[in-house]
């Protein structure tokens, strides 16, 4: 839950995101004019081969620490109000959501720029690996 007291949350959960809970709700903050939610979803193919699922391995707690570090940087550099990042570990089937980034900010431009930058940095620096489970 995003609150004024905890403007950043980082969570690594077992399996697909949202299999249990609802997606994050927009913070109730009248200073935020923009709310953007990005979901990364497991696609049916990797390099042309049919996939059944992706199996994610996270090196914890370093993975959470790196996500938090990037969140703080991006938050500060873009003047965001709230940022919530959720990532799966373990098996996520095709069509399942393995990554969700939710950002609230005063205006749109910084929210979208922050989203792009966060994901670029995550894909470079966060020790999480995926392994395809091929379809038989």
């Amino acid at each position: 839950m995003l609150t004024r007291e905890a403007p950043i949350t980082v969570t690594i959960v077992e399996g697909a995101l949202g299999a249990l809970g609802a997606p994050p709700r927009r913070p109730d903050d009248p200073g935020c004019g923009a709310w953007v939610v990005f979901e990364g979803v497991v696609r049916e193919d990797e390099g042309g081969k049919a996939v059944e699922a992706l199996d994610y391995t996270a090196y914890q707690p370093m993975a959470e620490d790196q996500l938090m570090l990037i969140a703080r940087d991006v938050m500060r550099d873009h003047g965001l109000s709230y940022l919530m990042v959720e990532h799966s570990r373990g098996v996520v089937p095709v069509g399942g959501c393995s990554f969700r980034l939710s950002i609230a900010s005063g205006h749109r431009k910084e929210a979208l720029a922050a989203m792009d930058e966060f994901i670029d940095r995550m894909k470079r620096d966060v020790p999480i690996w995926k392994q395809p489970v091929w379809r038989m």
């Binding site: 994610y56 993975a63 020790p127 999480i128």
Partner: protein, 81 residues
């Protein structure tokens, strides 16, 4: 000292194990670890040219000293998201 280095992803696959054990001199750095691993695990030769080490959960550079009991990991190409 004897240290264990965790492996993930392509590096774990190349070696066929989740870690490798290496002997280092006292006062060794990550650069020394890189050299020692080249000798012990030739399958990692290409990764060792560019992959990063993490010491106690933080990225380190080759001048970072390694102490007894440090948690060490070799971080190659990650693929989260």
């Amino acid at each position: 000292m004897r240290v264990e280095v965790k492996l993930f992803g392509a590096e774990a696959h190349a070696v066929g194990a989740d870690s490798v054990v290496v002997d280092l001199d006292a006062l060794a750095t990550c650069g020394d670890l890189r050299d020692a691993m080249r000798a012990v695990a030739p399958a990692l030769a290409s990764s060792l040219g560019w992959a990063r080490f993490a010491v106690n959960g933080r990225y380190a550079d080759d001048s970072t000293p390694i102490g007894e009991g440090d948690e060490l990991a070799l971080i190659g190409l990650v693929s989260g998201g």
